[in-house]
C-alpha cells in the first residue's frame, strides 16, 4: 500500500510536465495507476473475505509512536475499490471532457490524480494521525479543484467555503483524535476501535471526531458547502463530491461504529442530524432548475441517509450501510458524468431550456434512467437491494423498542419518498420533451465519453444480481459490529421492507405528478435551514474582528510596541518577584559614602535629561550619568570598566553632536509629547520592578560564585594578572568573538545607511598630498576639491600661514582653530602610542584591546574635529572596512589556528620575555586575538567618523550649495 501511495506521489509530481507533451491523453495514462490499484485491491479479496487483514508498517516518528501503518480490512477494501475504480473511470472521462486548450489542464490532472492517491491513503491508513493527515490533504486538494476556474468569482467563493468548513471540522476532529489516541495509548485505529473505550473523556473525544466527519460529509448544519462546490468541473463533482471525499465522513463513522456506537450522543448526532439532512437535502433538491444542483442536494440528502444507517450500530444496519455506500457511489458518479455530458452538448444545465434530449441521445438517456432507478430504489438494481437492507435493519431496531430506530425508519422512509420524487423530476427535466422550449440542439460528441458512465450503469445492474458473493465479502465488516442474520438479496419474500419500498415509490411518483403545487408550497414556506447565512455572518464577523484587532494592536509605531513589551514585562516579572520568597536578609545603605553623592548627581541628571527641551542639553545630561558610572566603576574596584566607560562616553558625546548638529535644536517643535501620564506610569512601574529585582537578585543566589577559581585560572592558564582581560581574550574568548562580530555588523550598518551607493570610494584625500608633505609645500594652502572654484581667492590670502595639520588647509578660514590644530598635532602620536601600550599591558594591568582601540578612536576623533574630513582621510588613508576585516580575520585566525595544532579552537599558547618599559611580557596567541579586537574597535570608530562625520559634512555642504537655487533637500540626494 505504501508502494502504491509512493507511485501516486511521484506520478502526480511529473503529471504537469507530461501534460505539456501529451495534452488530454495524459488522463488515459494516469488512469492506469488507480486501475492498477483497483486490480491489486481485488487480489486481496480472498484475504479480506476470510476476515484477514493486509498490514504494512513503516517507522516514522517513534518518539510520538506515529508510524506510516496501513491496514486493509473489509471496510478499507470496499472503499479502496470504490475510490480506485471510480477514480480510474472519472480520469478516463476527463480525457474526453476537457479540450486541449483548457487552461491549467496539467495542474488539474495532477490534482485530481493526487486526490485519488490521497483518498486511497485515507481509507487504508491505520495510524489515526496519518489518517488525519490524508484527511486534511483531501480538504486542500478539494479547495484547489473546486477553484479550478480561478477567474470565476463563484468558483473562488465556493472553494473557500468548502475549505473553511471542512478544515474547521478537521481542526475540531484533530483535538478528538489526539484525545482518543492518548486515552487508548495507541495511534492505531484498529486498536482504538477494538478497545471500545467509555467514559466522559471518550465521549468528548468521539463527539469531536464526529464533528469532523459530519462537516466532511456535508451534514446539516455544514451541508451548504456541497451544493456550492458544484462550481467545480463536473468530473470533480462526480469524484470528490459524490463518490470519494464526502464518503470520508461516512467511512470514519463506519470505522468507529463497531467500538463506539454506544457512546452517549452518538445516536442523537448521527441519526438525528442524518435524518434532518436527508429531508432538508431532498426537499431542496425538489426545487432546483440546475440539473447538477438537483444531484448536489440529492447527494446531501443521500449522505444524511448513509450517516443514519452507518451510525445506527447493529450488525444488519452495518451491512446495509456498506451496501448503500457502494450503491450510492456508483449511481451518483454515473449521474454526475451524465450531467457533464448534457452540459457539454447542450451548453446548459438548466432543464427549462432542455427539450428532446432523450430522443436525440437515447444511450445517454438509458444510462441515466438506470442510475436514477437505482437511486430511487427500483428493483432489480443494486440501489433497491441496499435500500431493502436499510429498511429491514432499521425496522428491526424500531420494533425492538429503540426510539432512534423509529426516528430513523420514519425519517428515511419520508426522505426516500422525496428521493423518488426528485429522481423522477431529474429524469423528466433532463430528457423529457417540453412544449415551452424548442428542441435543444446537441453538439456532436464522440461516443467514447459514454464509456465511464456506461460501465457504472452496468455495474449497478450486475451487482443487483450477484448479491450473494457481495454479501459474503461485506459480511466480515458487519460481523465486527454485532450479531445478525440478514443477507443481501434481491428477493426476500413479502417482507415489511418491500411494502415500505412500494409505498415510497408510489408516494414519490405522486409527489412528482403534483410538482407544481409542491413548488408553490415550497415557495410559501420559509427556508427550512439556511446555514449558509450563518456561515456568512460568522466569517464576516471574524473578518471584522481581525480588522479591529489589527487596527488596535498593530499601529506600526515603536511607542505602542515598546509599551506592550514593557507592560508584559512589568506584569510577569513584577508578579513573580513579588510572590517569590527570596528577600535579602540584610540591607546595606551604601558601599561607601561617596556613592550617595555620585548617585544623587546621576539621578538628578537623568531626571533633568528626561525634562530637557533642547537636544544638546539632553545629550550632555545623559553624558553626566555616563561619567557618573565612570566614578562608580573606579571606586567599586573596576579600573578596566572605568577606563573603557570614560573613553566610550567621550566618543559618544562627540558622535551625538556630529549628528544632532544637522537636526533642529528643539526636540519637539511641532508635535507636543502625548500620553504623558501613561508614559509616567509605565516608566515608574518599570523602574520599580527593576529595583525589586535588584534588591532580591543577589539574595536569590544559590550556587557558589565561580569567581573564587578565576585568579588561579587567569595566572596559571591565561598567563595574565588582569582577570578581566584574560577572561575576555582567553577564558570567554568565544563570547568576545561574537561581540566583535556585532561591532563589525554595526559599523557596516552605519556606513551603509550613510553611503547609500558605496563606501570604498569614500576616503576623501587631498590631491597630491603625499608630495606636499615636504617642507616646501607646507606653507601652501590646498584647495578643497569640492569648493575649488568658489574659494580660489581666499586661499591666496592665506599664503604664508604655517599649517599644523595637512588637512587643516582644506577648511574654510572661519572654521579653523589654530589652537586645536596645535594640540592635535602634539597629542595625536602620543595618544596612538599609549593606545598600543594599553593594548599590550592589558593582560596584566588595566587596559586591553577594547580600551586601546577606543583611545586610538578618540585620537582619530580629534584629528577629524581639528582638520575636517580631509585630515581624517590623510590620517587613515584606507577604507574602514579593511581595518574591520583585518581585525576580525586576526581574531578568527587565532581561533582556528589552534585547531591545526590539535588543540581546541581558541586555546592559547604562550612565550614570555622581558621588554624594557613594558616589563615582563607574556606574549601569547591571546594577544593576537586582542590585537584583532583593537583593530575592530578602531575600524568602528573610523566608520562612525567617516559616516556620521565626513559624509554628513559633505551632504550638508551639498545642501548648502543647493539652497541658493532650490530648497534645502537636494533632489539628487533624496533620490539616491
Amino acid at each position: 500500500m505504501a508502494t502504491i501511495l509512493l507511485v501516486f506521489a511521484v506520478i502526480a509530481v511529473v503529471t504537469p510536465s507530461l501534460t505539456r507533451v501529451l495534452s488530454t491523453k495524459i488522463f488515459y495514462l494516469i488512469a492506469c495507476i488507480p486501475a492498477a490499484a483497483f486490480v491489486w485491491t481485488l487480489f486481496q479479496t480472498a484475504t479480506v473475505t476470510t476476515g484477514g487483514t493486509v498490514v504494512e508498517t513503516i517507522e516514522w516518528i517513534p518518539q510520538l509512536s506515529i508510524s506510516l501503518s496501513f491496514r486493509m480490512d473489509t471496510l478499507a477494501w470496499l472503499l479502496s475499490l470504490v475510490i480506485t475504480g471510480v477514480g480510474a473511470l472519472v480520469l478516463v472521462y476527463c480525457g474526453r471532457y476537457f479540450s486541449a486548450t483548457e487552461p491549467g489542464l496539467g495542474r488539474f490532472a495532477a490534482l485530481l490524480f493526487a486526490f485519488a492517491g490521497t483518498m486511497f491513503g485515507l481509507v487504508t491508513a491505520d495510524d489515526i494521525i496519518v489518517m488525519f493527515m490524508f484527511w486534511e490533504i483531501t480538504s486542500v486538494l478539494s479547495y484547489l479543484l473546486i477553484g479550478h476556474y480561478t477567474d470565476r468569482k463563484e468558483s473562488r467563493g465556493a472553494a473557500l467555503q468548502a475549505l473553511l468548513v471542512t478544515t474547521f471540522g478537521g481542526l475540531v476532529m484533530l483535538v478528538g483524535v489526539i484525545m482518543i489516541s492518548v486515552q487508548a495509548q495507541s495511534t492505531s485505529l484498529a486498536s482504538i476501535v477494538e478497545q471500545g473505550l467509555a467514559g466522559p473523556a471518550t465521549t468528548v473525544a468521539i463527539l469531536l471526531i464526529l464533528v469532523g466527519a459530519i462537516s466532511k460529509s456535508a451534514l446539516v448544519p455544514f451541508h451548504f458547502w456541497l451544493p456550492a462546490a458544484m462550481a467545480a468541473p463536473t468530473p470533480v463533482s462526480a469524484y470528490l463530491h459524490a463518490a470519494a471525499m464526502v464518503k470520508a465522513g461516512i467511512y470514519l463513522v463506519a470505522r468507529l461504529a463497531p467500538g463506539y456506537a454506544d457512546t452517549p450522543g452518538w445516536d442523537a448526532m448521527l441519526v438525528g442530524l442524518g435524518v434532518l439532512t436527508m429531508l432538508v437535502g431532498a426537499w431542496r433538491s425538489l426545487r432546483q432548475y440546475d440539473l447538477k444542483l438537483i444531484l448536489a442536494y440529492g447527494t446531501v440528502s443521500q449522505l444524511g441517509f448513509l450517516v443514519v444507517i452507518s451510525g445506527y450500530g447493529t450488525r444488519d444496519s452495518a451491512l446495509a450501510a456498506v451496501a448503500l455506500l457502494l450503491a450510492h457511489a456508483i449511481y451518483k458518479a454515473a449521474l454526475f458524468l451524465v450531467v457533464g455530458i448534457i452540459d457539454h452538448r447542450a451548453g446548459t444545465r438548466d432543464w427549462r431550456h432542455l427539450s428532446g434530449v432523450g430522443r436525440q441521445a437515447p444511450v445517454l438517456a438509458v444510462i441515466a434512467a438506470i442510475a436514477v432507478a437505482s437511486m430511487a430504489g427500483i428493483p432489480p438494481l443494486f440501489g433497491f437491494v441496499a435500500k431493502e437492507a436499510v429498511f429491514t435493519s432499521l425496522l428491526e431496531g424500531a420494533l425492538d423498542g429503540d426510539v432512534w430506530g423509529w426516528v430513523a425508519i420514519v425519517g428515511t422512509a419520508l426522505g426516500s419518498v422525496l428521493t423518488v420524487a426528485y429522481s423522477a423530476r431529474f429524469l423528466w427535466g433532463a430528457f423529457g420533451n417540453r412544449r415551452s422550449a424548442a428542441p435543444t440542439e446537441l453538439h456532436a460528441e464522440s461516443g467514447s465519453i459514454l464509456i465511464a458512465p456506461g460501465i457504472l450503469a452496468a455495474a449497478t445492474i450486475v451487482l443487483g444480481f450477484v448479491t450473494a458473493p457481495i454479501d459474503t465479502v461485506l459480511a466480515p465488516y458487519a460481523d465486527t459490529v454485532g450479531e445478525g442474520h440478514y443477507h443481501l438479496a434481491l428477493w426476500h419474500g413479502l417482507e415489511p421492507a418491500l411494502g415500505i419500498s412500494a409505498v415510497v415509490v408510489l408516494l414519490g411518483l405522486l409527489l412528482f405528478r403534483w410538482r407544481l403545487p409542491v413548488a408553490r408550497l415550497q415557495d410559501r414556506l420559509p427556508p427550512v435551514i439556511d446555514s449558509s447565512k450563518g456561515y456568512w455572518a460568522s466569517t464576516q464577523a471574524v473578518d471584522r474582528l481581525s480588522a479591529k484587532v489589527t487596527l488596535f494592536a498593530q499601529r506600526g509605531g515603536l511607542v505602542q510596541y515598546l509599551s506592550t513589551i514593557l507592560v508584559v514585562f512589568v506584569l510577569t516579572l513584577g508578579t513573580i518577584a513579588l510572590i517569590g520568597r527570596a528577600w535579602p536578609t540584610e540591607i546595606r545603605l551604601w558601599d561607601y559614602p561617596a556613592q550617595v553623592a555620585i548617585a544623587f548627581i546621576m539621578a538628578t541628571a537623568a531626571i533633568a535629561a528626561a525634562r530637557a527641551k533642547q537636544r544638546m542639553t539632553a545629550v550632555l545630561l545623559v553624558g553626566v550619568t555616563g561619567f557618573g558610572l565612570v566614578a562608580l566603576f573606579a571606586l567599586h574596584g573596576a579600573p578596566d570598566l572605568a577606563l573603557t566607560q570614560a573613553l566610550v562616553e567621550t566618543i559618544t558625546v562627540v558622535v551625538f553632536v556630529l549628528v544632532l548638529r544637522r537636526l533642529p535644536a528643539k526636540i519637539a517643535q511641532r508635535n507636543q509629547p502625548i500620553h504623558r501620564v501613561r508614559r509616567i506610569v509605565i516608566g515608574t512601574l518599570t523602574g520599580l520592578v527593576m529595583g525589586l529585582i535588584g534588591v532580591i537578585a543577589l539574595g536569590a543566589r544559590q550556587a557558589e560564585s565561580i569567581a573564587t577559581e578565576l585568579p588561579r585560572l587567569a595566572v596559571e592558564e591565561g598567563h595574565g594578572k588582569n582577570i578581566v582581560n584574560v577572561m575576555l581574550v582567553d577564558i570567554r574568548a568565544w563570547d568576545t568573538m561574537g561581540e566583535i562580530s556585532v561591532l563589525v555588523v554595526v559599523a557596516t550598518g552605519i556606513a551603509s545607511l550613510l553611503f547609500v551607493s558605496q563606501r570604498g570610494a569614500a576616503v576623501p584625500r587631498l590631491s597630491g598630498a603625499r608630495r606636499r608633505r615636504t617642507p616646501s609645500f607646507r606653507s601652501q594652502v590646498v584647495a578643497d576639491p569640492h569648493l575649488a572654484d568658489r574659494e580660489m581667492e581666499a586661499p591666496r590670502d592665506a599664503v604664508g600661514r604655517h599649517s599644523w595639520l595637512i588637512g587643516g588647509r582644506a577648511i574654510a578660514e572661519a572654521n579653523r582653530s589654530i589652537l586645536l590644530e596645535v594640540l592635535v598635532r602634539l597629542l595625536f602620536h602620543p595618544a596612538i602610542v599609549v593606545s598600543i601600550f594599553l593594548l599590550f599591558v592589558g593582560h596584566n594591568e588595566p587596559g586591553g584591546g577594547f580600551a586601546g582601540g577606543l583611545l586610538a578612536g578618540l585620537a582619530l576623533v580629534l584629528r577629524y574635529l581639528a582638520g575636517g574630513r580631509y585630515e581624517l582621510g590623510e590620517a587613515v588613508p584606507i577604507d574602514a572596512g579593511k581595518v574591520l576585516g583585518v581585525g576580525l580575520l586576526l581574531a578568527v585566525g587565532t581561533a582556528t589556528a589552534s585547531l591545526f595544532f590539535g588543540a581546541e579552537a581558541l586555546s592559547s599558547a604562550y612565550f614570555s620575555f622581558d621588554v624594557p618599559i613594558l616589563g615582563h611580557l607574556s606574549f601569547g596567541t591571546s594577544s593576537i586575538f586582542d590585537i584583532g579586537v583593537y583593530l575592530v574597535v578602531v575600524g568602528l570608530a573610523l566608520d562612525i567618523l567617516r559616516s556620521l562625520g565626513a559624509e554628513v559634512d559633505r551632504q550638508q555642504e551639498e545642501a548648502d550649495i543647493d539652497e541658493e537655487s532650490t530648497d534645502e533637500f537636494s533632489a539628487s540626494e533624496v533620490d539616491r
Binding site: S563, A638, N671
Partner: protein, 160 residues
Amino acid sequence: MSASLTLVLLMAVMYGTGVYVMLERSLTRFLIGFVLVGNATNLLILLMSGPSGTAPLVTGTASDDRMVDPVPQVLMLTAIVINFGVTAFILALIYRTWWLAQLGDEGDTLSDEHEHDTEEATDAVFHQVDVDDEAIQRVLDESNEHSDDDQTTSRKGASE
C-alpha cells in the same frame, strides 16, 4: 549577600526616566532613553558583583581576598562597547530617517505607520472574499424554483 540600596535606587530612577523618555515619538528622545536604560542595565550588572573591593588584578598579596567578582565586569565591558556601537547605529538611523522623510524643521518625530488607517480601509481587504461569496450564493439562489416561474416559462413558450 545584599546590594547597596543607594545603587538600587539610582538604577530604578534611571530605568524609570529612561523608559519614560523612550516612549516618546521623537527618535532623539528614544535614543536618549535608550542610553539611560543602557547605563541602568550596566548598573544592574554591577550590583550583582556585590560590595566594592579591590580591582581584579592578581597581586599575590592579602588584598586579593577583598577582590570584587570579575565576571560581571567582563560582561559589562563588552556591553559598554556594544552599547556604543548600537547608539551610533541608531544615530545613523535617525539621521537617515530625517533626511529621507524630508522632515526638515519638524525634527525627527514620526507618526505611526498605520495611524490613519480606518476600520473601513482594513475591512476592504476582505471585500473580494465577500464578493466571491455573494457570487456563489447568487448561483445557488438562481437555481431555486418558484411557483410562478414554471407558468411564466410555459406561457412564454406558448406565445412563441
